[in-house]
């Protein structure tokens, strides 16, 4: 369980994140949404302890996040960062095995290797096991990184998974599979907190949504409470319509704009 109370964070008197409060429990999928520069990634960095809050507290399983050693944290939560560039030619298996590094000393056990294989299967790249990481496409690389994140957290009880835009560069199918996977992980008792850009994915898969604007909580709650036409208009500056097609179980967010082509053709 992660408890964030009155968290502020700023660099040189410029506040980046202010007054954030929320409780994320294991078994919940939290989506963090907001416009560019709203402070989503900064918040993720605070949660992963890359940054320490200027004021306020983050409690991780009831203990102040600052009081954990990095080695302890590595065995309790996994982080997938936004930027992941690797230039050295490590193989896919070696990269995913890095997720197991906190758990063994010098040689990986059979169990570690089995977990690596299993996580590679989970993200659908078991066939790439021996390929060199830099030769993969952007979306494939991202899936390898996701597998590494899963491998790190796989055997942890009440573990948390922090994902900063996990689906960057992935194709449509794998975006949905990734979110489905995150959803499955919450079913297994993990907590997932993810920065999500696609509001439809957030609406469809998240249990809770935190909407940020200018470094502050704009709205927080269940997807239908937070992702409303008014809120999206206020936080993103875009008019949207939320429609409920008859043959789907969930509503769909579409931009409330006349498509350019139509506009041009009506003019003529």
């Amino acid at each position: 369980m992660i408890e964030i109370s009155n968290v502020h964070f700023g660099v040189k008197n410029k506040p980046l994140v202010q007054n954030i409060n929320f409780h994320a429990k294991t078994g919940e999928f939290w989506a963090i949404v907001g416009a560019n520069g709203a402070g989503k990634s900064t918040l993720m960095k605070l949660l992963s302890r890359e940054h320490v809050p200027t004021s306020g507290n983050i409690y991780f399983h009831g203990k102040d996040l600052k009081k954990y050693k990095l080695k302890e944290l590595a065995k309790l939560r996994a982080v997938l960062a936004q930027q992941n560039s690797i230039t050295l030619s490590f193989s896919v298996q070696e990269i995913v095995l890095m997720g197991r590094y906190p758990f063994y000393d010098s040689q990986p056990t059979q169990r570690d290797l089995a977990i690596v294989d299993h996580c590679l299967q989970k993200v659908g790249i078991a066939g790439f096991k021996n390929r060199l990481f830099p030769t993969l496409s952007g979306g494939e690389q991202q899936r390898v990184q996701l597998a590494r994140t899963l491998a790190q957290i796989w055997e942890v009880n009440d573990g948390f998974i922090l994902l900063d835009e996990p689906t960057t560069g992935m194709d449509l199918l794998h975006q949905y599979e990734t979110f489905q996977l995150a959803r499955d992980m919450t079913g297994k008792g993990f907590g997932v907190i993810a920065v999500v850009h696609d509001l439809n994915l957030a609406l469809q898969y998240a249990d809770r949504v935190l909407m940020m604007k200018d470094g502050q909580t704009f709205s927080a709650g269940t997807p239908d409470q937070v992702l409303t036409e008014d809120n999206i208009k206020a936080a993103f500056g875009l008019s949207v319509r939320i429609i409920q097609p008859d043959d789907t179980h969930f509503p769909i967010i579409v931009p409330d704009m006349i498509p350019v082509q139509v506009a041009v053709s009506t003019k003529n």
Binding site: K71, S89, Q110
Partner: protein
Amino acid sequence: MLEQTIEKLNTDQSLPVEKTKKSVSTWGAASVLSFILLSCIIFSACTGALSISLAELWQIILFKTGFADTANYEEQKALVFWIIRLPRVCLAVLVGAGLGIAGASLQGLFRNPIADSGLIGVTSGASLFAVIVIMLNIKYLGIINEVGGAYTLSLAAFIGAALTTMLVYQLSKLTGEGGVTTMLLCGIAINAFVGAITGLMTYLATDEQLRTITFWSLGSLGGANWTSVLAVTPFVLCSVLFMPYLSKALNLLVLGESQAAALGVNMKTLKRQVIILATMGVGASVAVAGTIGFVGLVVPHIIRNAFGPDHKTLLVGSALGGAVVLTLADTISRTIVAPSELPIGILTALLGTPFFLYILWDQKRRKV
């Protein structure tokens, strides 16, 4: 499902999991390189102005170790071997190992395959302090000689290297939160500054001092004796023995600083450890052999291309590979213009630069 897989694995050990591939490659690489190194040592020990045959070498060693009762060789050859040749070969091995492992670990720390001990100021700082000590020693402190002198020079070079590196590190922290780019840029600035000071000192030096400084700043193992070997051994051994323990952390660093931290790597400690260990090897090497460039740059590249990027193999391999390269380079440097001697720094740069350019070109070509 995973539990089942794992249970199956536990009961049936013969399942084809590619388990030992990595460890074999580390040990494999180490044994292949050790074998090459041993051959190079023997070759280097036998080659020179006075050539020693393998049989003679064997006899010399047997007699000295007490396994043979009679000395079936010329006395002169034994003297050359024990007093001139062997310490020189040992020094080449130590200096090469120190430079190789320092290069590999700094490249890992900076996540930049171009990073080199020269780049972040280690070499310059070491040179500066060593030059100061040489000048002071000739002028005022003629008393520091033999063992004391060698240790003083080693220590001074190490302190110089460490201080410069610390300064670069502190500066980069002030300007850019310890980011790697700032660190490299600071290193370049400090390098230029230290280079200028060293240059200024050469200007002020007398003829005698100048000759010592110049010869030494081009790099040479010509001053090798058992004293200098003893002076560098502890420094290089520390570096070579402890650095491989950091290989896992350096591997994680490949993912980026924040990802490494998320996987439990304490960046502050890691930076400190790598810098100190690398500085020890380079500082001591500079003190006894002067500035020998390109070993720390080219050797890790070769090892990476041959055995893959895993730091465990890379660090061990670079130490052994550096020793091989420097032993060979030194053999060439003392035979090619015999009876005179070519400064080894000239040789490594002459051979190293084209090779390095080739590697860069080859990498770009492979990417396309």
